[in-house]
């Protein structure tokens, strides 16, 4: 039993719903009690979808449990098939139905339908949403293509030459409730098209079962989000010899590496290598002089595996930040996140508990947080600027404008989204600096609202109330005066460090000089 106050991921059947809702001509019969329909609002409210998810809930009640719930399942399947006429039927159960073991998938298969039926077994008491999405996409791909396995030769990635056409690829992994998937697909298709590569199928987003059957007409697969598509890509590789890409094209370096990888796999010469660096404004913006102040900014990163790893690389190599924290809630990607953290000489945080993340954030004392909507709240409480880089989805993460994370435009979006909150942070500092000027209006509200000012007040009142620190160290007038000149966002850290130094050296009174001694000591 695990005490959970808030969860980054939903249950695995919500992952299955993400696949079903992303696609066309599919219906999902979910053996589930009243209340599980809440998941519809994730799609209709957060994604603002104008269609209901293609899901029928059997809605069994306590009084059904003594009787024949299996009959109830069959009735719902029959009605759903008749009404929605899906080309492929997904059948599964949510957590409660798993306990009563009606085996709805097996029931559906015995009902004599001629459409393919995918029996989804998603263990609700051990797995979570992304796993459920991945498993559903994999089972669906397998069901629709397994008959073609024996009759097909292994796919030669170079066959496009013999066929006398442009190479074709599939883009796998984008789904509803995935972070900026809608726009990433457009960006990646545009980039591939520029390189003379055609998109065969995008799945699951916008695909139909027919499209899944057409996957094998492409030469290779682009695995755009490992959390969703890796299992399917691996199966297609094993059974059809289709190679797939490993690089996630987020950030300039990864986008270029991605393009290289695609070209290598297709044996397609890369002709515009030099041009690529200039496709995005990020490299120049990062190089331009006013970005100097970005150097060594302490950044704390937490999100899904794909976006957290990509963010760490961009932060370190493309913006010149210092990564002081890296973590993920995607247990399936813990190994990769740990490896990236190791390269950065830090320890990865793998957890589903947002309070642990908040604690780690506090300890790391970052100047910028890149996280989920939950980290945005935690950062707000701590008065630290934040940019959102990952699911779980919030209505704000489905912007009206084109706003990808991947490719060239994605890099532009990332530069703006990460740097603007920092500039706001700087503004905060300026407000602090100029607050004694007569023009300054008391109660000036910054973007951080009351929280930022409160942090200041806490520190200030701390200083006023307890002249002496807990260890009996006294702050002299000059020491305190100097401390107030330190920018607010590092003031807490400077205070602790100076006291630590004073204890270490046995200095009973902290003056302005002690502050500078400590600064030199810790730098």
């Amino acid at each position: 039993m695990e005490l959970t106050l808030w969860t980054y991921e939903g249950p695995p059947h919500v992952g299955a719903m993400r696949i079903a809702s992303s696609m066309k001509d599919i219906h999902y019969v979910l053996h589930a009690p009243q209340g599980d329909t809440y998941a519809d609002l994730l799609f209709t409210m957060i994604e603002r979808r104008g269609q209901r998810p293609p899901v029928t809930y059997t809605t069994f009640q306590a009084r059904d449990l003594g009787g024949d719930t299996a009959e109830l399942v069959k009735k719902n399947i029959r009605e759903a098939v008749e009404r929605f006429k899906p080309k492929t039927l997904l059948v599964g159960e949510s957590c409660t139905a798993e306990l009563i073991q009606d085996q709805p998938g097996a029931l559906a298969k015995g009902m004599g339908f001629d459409m393919p039926i995918v029996n989804l077994e998603l263990p609700a008491y051990s797995k979570k949403e992304n796993w459920g999405a991945s498993e559903t996409f994999y089972q669906l791909t397998r069901t629709l293509l397994k008959e073609k396995v024996s009759s097909s030769d292994k796919i030669n990635p170079l066959r496009w030459r013999e066929l006398g056409r442009r190479p074709k690829v599939n883009i796998l992994g984008p789904s509803l409730l995935g972070f900026r998937c809608r726009d990433d697909v457009i960006e990646i298709q545009r980039i591939l098209s520029e390189q003379g590569i055609d998109t065969n199928v995008v799945a699951p987003l916008g695909a139909s079962p027919d499209d899944i059957e057409r996957l094998i007409y492409a030469e290779i697969n682009i695995c755009l989000y490992q959390e969703i598509a890796e299992a399917s890509c691996e199966w297609l590789k094993r059974n059809f010899g289709m190679e797939y890409t490993n690089t996630i094209p987020i950030g300039i370096k990864n986008t270029i590496e991605f393009i290289n990888e695609v070209h290598e796999k297709l044996d397609l010469p890369l002709t515009n290598k030099e041009e690529l660096e200039n496709k995005s404004k990020l490299p120049w913006y990062s190089k331009s002089v006013d970005s100097n102040y970005l150097t060594g900014k302490r950044v704390f990163i937490f999100g899904d595996g794909t976006h957290a790893i990509a963010a760490a690389k961009i932060a370190k190599e493309e913006l010149g930040f210092e990564v002081v924290g890296l973590g993920t809630y995607s247990r399936e990607m813990a190994r990769q996140v740990r490896a990236t953290a190791k390269d950065l000489n830090i320890e990865a945080l793998i957890t589903n508990n947002y309070l642990e993340v908040e604690d780690a954030m506090k300890k790391a004392a970052p100047e910028l947080v890149l996280g989920t909507q939950m980290e945005r709240h935690s950062a707000k409480r701590l008065g630290i600027p934040c940019s959102v880089i990952s699911t779980p989805m919030h209505v704000q993460d489905v912007p009206a404008r084109y706003s990808p994370q991947m490719g060239w435009e994605g890099a532009n979006v990332i530069f703006d989204d990460w740097v603007h909150p920092l500039m706001m942070g700087l503004e905060e500092h300026l407000i602090d600096m100029f607050k004694h000027d007569f023009e300054f209006v008391d109660g000036h509200q910054s973007h951080l609202g009351h929280t930022a000012t409160n942090t200041n007040n806490i520190l200030n009142s701390d200083e006023k109330k307890e002249k002496n620190s807990k260890e009996g160290i006294i702050w002299t007038e000059s020491g305190r005066a100097e401390l107030t000149k330190v920018p607010f966002f590092v003031r807490g850290k400077v205070k602790t460090n100076t006291e630590k130094y004073a204890i270490l050296r046995g200095i009973p009174e902290i003056s302005d000089e002690t502050l500078y001694d400590a600064k030199a000591y810790f730098s």
């Binding site: 106050l5 969860t7 939903g10 957590c95 263990p123």
Partner: protein, 418 residues
Amino acid sequence: MSKVEFNKETGPREVFCGLTSIVWLHRRMPDAFFLVVGSRTCAHLIQSAAGVMIFAEPRFGTAILEEKDLAGLADAHEELDRVVNDLIARRPEIKTLFLVGSCPSEVIKLDLATVAEKLNKRFLGQVRFVNYSGSGIETTFTQGEDGALKTLIPLMESSNEEKLLLVGTLANNVEDRFKKIFRNLGISNIESFPPRQSTELPKIGKNTKVLLTQPYLSDTVRDLKHRGCEIISAPFPLGIEGSTKWFLAAAKAFKISELKVHEIISPLINRAKLALDSHKEILKGKRLFLLPESQLEISLARFLHNECEMDLIEVGTPYLNKDLMKEEINLLPDNTKIVEGQHVEKQLDRVRESNPDLVVCGMGLANPLEAEGISTKWSIEMVFSPIHGIDQAADLAGLFSKPLKRNQILTSKTLVTH
């Protein structure tokens, strides 16, 4: 009773389960914690239904069952013990802990009553433990509050003092208004259940006169009756008419003259009617379809027809307690079609066929209907907004007129392009 048409329907439903009521109950009683014993689905449901991220450590959570908890119930009890201990160590300010049963905990027959009993002994004088079920296999949305209140009744001490007990969660400001009006009527001893602090439970007995503020409290009413309380029969205080009759019923129970009631509330009524006018202008003659969810549908239908002159196509309700709803049903126009239960697909067919001007529905259905060109009002807002009482009648009407007004604005052409 008016000639109302009753129908029943079964099939797939699109309604929340009783766990959802934790979203307002935990705010009503800030010294209580609601611990759902359930699955990740339960945790995800509550956080999604609340529609907001958590701004501070919340006073509700889920003890998520894992595979090993399902293997043996003994272990599950032990695990729950551990979780509760951790929680209380972390949140020492908690005075009452609600153990809330869910679909999975009910199916595996986890005995939360026994767990609560044991914990009560261990934490005697520090924390009180109670339990109820908010499971979807037994409860619908607002029914969760019924379970939570019912479980508190045995903790309420007995007293034969005469008092008016308002039963059902109200917004604090509305509660204050009501109490002021009752005091003006000459009823001085008024208490609310649930109280604002979980430990300050009202005492009850044969001179307690219960006035319901919400229509979804069947079990609570039954247990209050068993404790000797008198239940005042009245419509619910939604809109001017409902609220007036509600005040009158209370006054009658306290032998206060009708004249006195009218004297006190007439100015409020006049003011409210004035405020209601602009909304009525928009709502008048518009055709309304209510899908089942909050259990407030019948009262809302009565208000929107009788006071806002809307036409009722169909009034859905998750379940119907004819006894509790008697006074409301009497006020409905003849031939009102009430449908108890739901087959969501068939009901949506009827929505499309009847071409309504406004549909009251859950959040899962609102945008898809809007995309089909049908204006909607999502029902969850009714349980979060202060809508009770005469003073709030215009605000209540505003919840329904706003989507229509917005539609009008967006489809009109008022500015000439220069």
